[in-house]
Structure formats: C-alpha cells, structure tokens
C-alpha cells in the first residue's frame, strides 16, 4: 500500500465544476480506472481521496493535485498516469503522478494570474492601489460575519502587466487551511475603493507553495 499524488489541470469548461462536484467526479473516474485503491473504513466505505486545496467555482488551475492510496505496490506511477489519462474529460488533463513529498497541510501560499478588461487610463490607479501599503478589504469569517482586513498583510507579491485590452495581475496570496485569501477579495476591494469594475475576470491558479516559498510537491 502506498500513497500517490495525481497532478492535474482544470481548465476550459471544467472551471464550472465546484469542488464538491469535483470530488464526486474523481470518485467515478477512479472506478473507471479499475485501479485497486484503499477504501476508508466505517459505515459508508468510500475511496480515500484527499485534495490539496479546494479551488473556487469558476477558477482555472494548472497545479491541482489529489492524493490516494494504491493497494498494489507493483503498480508504477507511469501506469497510474496512463490509466487516469484514459478516463479524463477534455477539460481535465493529468500532468504527472508522483510520490508525495510535502504534506498537504504545509501549503501556505498560492500564485494566481487574474486577467480582466481594463482601460489604459485606469492602469495606474489599479497599480497604485494593489502595490500600496494599505489595501482595505472585507472578508467573511467562518461565523458568517464580515470583518475588515488589510490585504497587504496577506499579499506576498504583486505584478501588473497589460495584454491588449486586458490587465494581467499576478498575485501571491496566503492560502491553505490556516488562512486562505480568495483573489476575488482583491478585485472586490479594487471596485470598492477605486470604482473600477473588474467583472468578467478570469482567474488561473498557477502554483501552490509552502511557508518558505518552495513549490508544493
């Protein structure tokens, strides 16, 4: 019995699958692979599947991963990759199958690329806001209340470029089970503080990192 980490991209129309749906989807995909996997014990046994970090509905990603436990030790990572690739829909591409290196709970940050239509003349306003010392934003707490936070405290890198009609905002934000910041919070803050509407934004998660800034593997 050994743990494997399945790496995959979630793009195109599969961005519209919620995390809960993705979980259900993986369970079925797993059955289609006919791989011998470990089931949880208890009243309602199901395959053991653990995702690294949930992805918001509507976001794309090239760095997703899910851990599972293979019963047959002689089954290689290459074989697992092959079997999974064969049962995926077009929006989900399996990029690698590895032995897990870090633990999922070590994830502390994530890099996002956010693109949205932005007029040339508004570029400076947005840049001044996101690179400033104080970025007021509102975040809902677990209790369902809203609190004011300074996003600057959770932002570890920001870059703004232009591509045609669109702005490309690269962000490194706190992520993981302790503190998780959704990039939409920044876009909402931009709208609230500057009046600039970033609707129609597309978000791509590019990688996940641990607290030291090393890529999650």
């Amino acid at each position: 019995m050994r743990d494997v980490r399945i790496w995959f991209e979630k793009r195109g129309e599969t961005r519209y699958i919620s995390h809960l749906d993705l979980n259900r989807f993986m369970l079925r995909a797993l059955r289609r692979t006919r791989l011998p996997i470990w089931y949880t014990e208890g009243y309602n046994p199901h395959p053991y599947l653990s995702f690294a970090l949930p992805l918001s509905l509507g976001f794309e990603s090239v760095c997703e991963s899910v851990d599972l436990r293979i019963l047959d030790e002689s089954c290689t990572n290459e074989q697992v990759l092959e079997r999974f690739s064969a049962v995926m829909p077009r929006g989900i591409r399996v990029t690698a199958v590895t032995d897990p290196v870090m633990k999922q709970k070590e994830i502390a940050m994530a890099d996002y690329l956010v693109s949205f239509p932005l007029r040339e003349e508004d570029t400076d306003t947005v840049w001044n806001f996101v690179s400033g010392e104080h970025i007021p934003a509102r975040k809902s707490t677990k209790k369902g209340e809203e609190k004011q936070i300074n996003l600057k405290e959770h932002l570890h890198g920001v870059r703004l470029e232009r591509e045609g009609e669109n702005a490309l905002l690269s962000l490194r934000l706190d992520a993981g089970c302790v503190v998780n910041i959704n990039p939409m919070l920044l876009l909402d803050a931009i709208r609230e503080q500057t009046g600039i509407d970033c609707s129609g934004a597309s978000v791509l998660r590019k990688q996940m990192l641990n607290a030291e800034g090393k890529e999650f593997r």
Binding site: G12, T14, Y16, I17, D21, R28, R32, G200
Partner: protein, 613 residues
C-alpha cells in the same frame, strides 16, 4: 461564441455546470464531417433531463451513425434565460455551443403535459418560429416523441413530426430519410411527405380536423399520401436491440444519478388508470444474460456505484432471481449498489432482497392507489388489504420504521367512503406496528401518505371519464385530512389546479394550441414547478381563445365520440378499453396477462411477444 463570451454569459449564473458540457461520455464530432445534426431538447432543466433514460438511449443511438451528430439541449433556468435574452444570444447546444437554429432537427421528448410551455419557450429562445406554418426552408425540422406523443394534438400546430413508440429503429429511419432527401435537394414539404411514409411517424400538417355543433370532433381528413391511422413502432427483440454502453456522466448533482439497465417493456397488470402500462405493450423481456452484460459495461464505462433496474413493474420480471444472482457476482466485488424501484406489494421479493446486501433499500414505498377493496377493484389494482398489511409487517419485523404509500383521489365511481378508506388503511398499518411484539425498540412509526389527484388519460379504459372538478378534489382532500387522527400519519397532496390543467392538456385537441401559445405569451413556463405555476394566467389564455377547459377535463365522453387520438394506434384496441371501462363500473377485476390473455390487441404488433409463458 468565444470562451470569453461564454465565461461572461455564465458569470453570476447559478450552477453554471448545467450549461458547460464536456462531461465524460459526451460526444463531440467535427461538424464539417457530419451530414445531419440533431438537437435533443429536454423541456426541463439539466438536472431533470439528465436523469431521463430515453435521452441516453437516443443520444448514443444517433451518435453511433457516422453521418449524424446528436447534441443535448436543456431548458435554461430563469437566470440564464434572462442573460441570453439581454445579450440577444440564441439557445445553444451543450457540446458545440452552436445555436440550435442551425441544426437539421430539433427533437423534444414529451414526458408530461405541463412541460408544453417550456417547449414553446425553448423554440422562442432558439429563435425558431413557434408555429410550424411559419418555418422556412432553413429552419430545423421540429420532432417530438415520448409518452405524451400518444396524443400530440395540443401541440399539432408546433410540431412537424411526431415519433410514436420506440425510437431505436424509427429514429435511424428518420435520419436516413432526411439524409437522402437532403442530398437530392428536396424541399421541406417534400421531405415531410417522405417521412410520413415511415412507420410510426405522424405528420400533423397532412391532417385536418373539423368540429361539430356540439364541439366534439366531426371528422378528420387527410392527404392521399398519408395513412388514416398511424401505428406506433416497437422493437420486437429487446436482446438484439441497441442499448448504450456509456452515457454522459454529469459533473453536477442531478435527480437520479446512477446507471440504468432496462429489463423489460410493457406491463402485464392492466391497471385501468395507468397509461404507461398500455402504451408500452406488448410485454417484451430482455434475457438476464443480456441485461447483466449491458449493466456491467455501463458501470465500467461510467464509474457509477449504483445501477437501477428499470421497468414498469420490476417484480414481474420473470427471471429476477437469476438476474440478481449473475449481477451480484460483480456488483458485490466492485461495491456497486443495485436499486430496485417499481416493486409490487403482492409479489415484493422481500426474502430475495434480504439476502442481497448490495441491494439498497432506501425507503419502503408501496402504491395501493385506493383505500377500499371496491375502489381497488374498479381500477384493477389487484392487491388486497392482506397484501398491504402483510408487506408492511414483514418490513417492520426487519427493522423498518417508516413506510410511504401512494394513493389517488378522484377515481371513477369514488365515494367519500372510499376516501375515508385511505385514512382507515393508514391507521391499520400504524396499529399493526404497535401490535408487533418484535417491533424496533425505542422508535415510533412514520406512515407517509401521498395523495395525488386522478387525471384520466388517453389509451386507458378511463379515457371517457370526467375528471373531478377542482372543487370536488379540494373537498376530498379536506375530508381525508379530517379522517386522520394519528400524528404517525403524514398526508401530502397536490394542488388540484395543476391536476386540472394536466387533465385538460392530456385529452385535448388542436384547439388548445392557441391556448398554450397565449399562456406562454403571458409568461407561463415551468408549469410543473409550484413557484412558476400561474393558473390565473392560464385562465386568461383560455378566455382569450374562447375555450372552456372543463369541456376537455370534466365532461363525460360517450363511447361513440371521435377522440383526438383515434387516428393513432398503440396496439391496444378501443373495444378492449370499452370492455374494461364497463367492467370497472361493475366493480369487476380483470386478470393479468400471465393469468389469462384478455385480448387487448397488442399481440398483433408482435406475435413473439406477450408473456404467456
């Protein structure tokens, strides 16, 4: 539509997974390489439509043809519809996102009458002329099949071709005919004339209906090139019939999310209220080996962990123990649950099911349909109080503490005593629970009684009966509630207004087409959803068109009257229905097909059929 446009369309929309396509099992072809494109339109949301077996069969069937591509379209929810209209975007198909109006065929499945306004709404959203007479050479051919096609007259002005009966062979014939006609450069009208020659296809524009002074049908005239009566198509041998090896597996949660294996068609029982049992005759079974093989392939291809054995009356399948035994060899090993809906009380295979762990028993549900033996005899639901109590007691002994029962009110010859009978029966079940010394300790019993309002349907012995008025139904509902004295009994019932509308449309004729259009124009859609149902708008529509809905629902028809569906033949003869109606009025039952053949006429469609064995 570009990806960016699509993304903008869906931002702010609930459950975008309904519209994005790309599911495992969905079929994408190169549109330049196909000659015939078919848009299968289910007139309800994705969650409802993807639970339907028919779409899965026909999708796979048509996509198997290399010259054809079948895509799926579902009714958009209100929020997406608002976006589509605001942006001037026409309704699109899931797989290609191409506008439905660019397809060769737009096909609807008529599952229930209250979906009719959704059909008009989808045509409008697709930017296809709603009335057939307004469609031009470039517009798609609009076809419709499914159970309500047995009386498609209320939609006759909107549908180009009705497909009657089973589609496994008929749909292929239709597509091949179209391909041939298209290659020969035939016009729309010429194609329809050719299509009318194919068995099972009814083209309403070649028939003209005239009405008498008493408002009933006087006569029906038809073009020389078409037959006076159109007979439904059936597949004779279910074992060699097409069955899909995979279906699109939804990403989002839907109503029934599991693999489905069809085990037989038709029904031997002949319950007099049940349209489906007659429409799908003659009874034809699939052999256990074929079902087992197909079920296994489906589970492997889809990854589902539950498979449902589908039929009108699963406990009547002659080889059920044998089938379950074969299936258990792999379902237990692969941890797949077998679901057995539609079991009868009087031959509920309780002992069989107890032995089988993988057979998931969600709730215990029975359909006695009527509360007194006399009433059950009238409707020919041949189960006794003993059967009902016996099954419930067995279930209680096995640890069950809840039971759900389905009944109807408004049945022909019903009296208040029969209505009270429902409450009395429910109470007997509660009492039986408490009388059991070995009943589950520490828990009370819950008897849920679901009472719907009877709607007389075409192709049943009750097709001449008047439906109870809404007032009569409400009085009976109130009376029933007053007869219930225990907190252990929970009664639920339906709004009589929806049953009334269903009753009007089910036995309607072509004069209702303008009414449906007027109702849709006033904003009616999703009529089967209580939040969207507006009976007052329908009332306005009836008034605008000068139609009295009670003429269709509440009037007793004479046996001599020409019925709107008389030009359609589903195998069972009118004489049989007359005989059965007369027996009902004499409280006489009729044996089931296996006990004795009562000559319904369906055997004429297929001599090899009918489970006389």
């Amino acid at each position: 539509m570009t990806d960016q446009e699509f993304h903008e369309l869906l931002s702010g929309v609930q459950k975008p997974g309904r519209y994005c396509g790309g599911e495992p099992g969905s079929v994408v072809k190169e549109k330049e390489q196909v000659e015939v494109r078919f848009a299968f339109c289910f007139p309800d949301t994705y969650e409802v439509g993807m639970s339907h077996l028919g779409i899965k069969i026909l999708y796979g069937l048509m996509n198997r043809l290399d010259y054809a591509w079948c895509e799926r379209v579902f009714a958009p929810a209100e929020d997406l519809e608002t976006q589509l209209r605001a942006r001037g975007l026409p309704l699109f198909a899931l797989e290609s996102r191409d506008p439905v109006k660019e397809f060769d065929f737009v096909g609807f499945t008529l599952q229930y009458e209250l979906s009719y306004t959704n059909i008009l709404n989808m045509l409008d959203l697709a930017q296809i002329p709603i009335y057939s007479r307004d469609r031009g050479e470039d517009d798609p051919i609009v076809v419709a099949g499914g159970p309500c096609a047995c009386n498609g007259e209320p939609l006759a002005d909107f549908i180009d071709i009705f497909c009657l009966g089973e589609g496994e062979e008929m749909n292929v014939d239709l597509l091949e005919c179209y391909r041939r006609c298209k290659r020969q450069g035939m016009s729309r009208r010429e194609f329809l004339r050719e299509a009318a020659k194919i068995g099972g296809l009814y083209v309403p524009s070649f028939y003209r209906v005239s009405y008498g002074a008493d408002k009933t049908i006087d006569r029906v005239e038809h073009d020389e090139a078409v037959p006076a009566t159109v007979q439904k198509r059936i597949v004779r041998d279910l074992d060699t019939m097409y069955y899909p090896e995979a279906f699109p597996v939804p990403f989002i949660e839907i109503i029934h999310d599991r693999a489905v294996a069809e085990i037989f068609r038709g029904c031997i029982r002949g319950c007099r209220f049940c349209q489906a049992g007659f429409l799908y005759r003659p009874v034809r079974e699939k052999s256990p080996a074929v079902i087992d093989r197909q079920a296994k392939m489906l589970c492997e291809a889809t990854g589902y962990d539950e498979i449902s054995l589908s039929s009108l009356s699963t406990s009547d399948y002659t080889k059920l123990p044998e089938l379950l035994e074969s299936m258990l060899q792999w379902t237990d090993r692969d941890k797949i649950n077998i679901s057995l809906p539609s079991l009868r009380i009087d031959n509920f295979p309780q002992d069989l099911i107890q032995k089988i762990q993988s057979v998931r028993q969600s709730g215990l549900t029975f359909a006695p349909e009527a509360g007194t033996q006399r009433m059950r005899d009238v409707i020919n639901k041949n189960i006794t109080e003993e059967d009902i109590l016996g099954s419930c007691v067995k279930a209680f002994r096995n640890g069950r503490t809840s039971v759900k029962l389905y009944f109807m009110i408004g049945l022909p010859t019903e009296t208040m005593e029969d209505v009270e009978g429902i409450a009395i029966l429910a109470q007997k079940i509660v009492d039986a629970f408490y009388a059991l010394p070995e009943r589950p300790k520490g828990k009370g019993v819950q008897v849920s009684v679901s009472v719907s309002s009877f709607v007389p349907k075409p192709f049943t012995p009750f097709q001449w009966e008047p439906q109870d008025t809404m007032e009569q139904l409400r009085r009976k509902q109130e009376y029933l509630l007053s007869c219930v004295h225990s907190k252990k009994i929970r009664v639920s019932y339906h709004d009589p207004a929806t049953s009334f509308l269903e009753g009007v449309l089910a036995r309607g004729d072509r004069r209702l087409c303008d009414v449906i259009f007027a109702a849709w124009k006033r904003g009616c859609k999703f009529d089967s959803w209580s939040e969207y149902f507006h009976p007052e708008l329908w009332q306005e529509a009836f008034e605008e068109c000068g139609i009295d809905p009670a003429f269709y629902a509440n009037r007793k028809r004479e046996f001599s009257e020409i019925l709107p569906w008389d030009g359609i033949d589903y195998g069972v003869s009118k004489q049989f229905f007359v005989r059965e109606n007369e027996r009902a009025h004499q409280n006489m039952t009729t044996p089931n097909c296996r006990q004795q053949c009562t000559g319904c006429g369906a055997a004429s469609l297929c001599k090899e059929a009918c489970s006389h064995a």
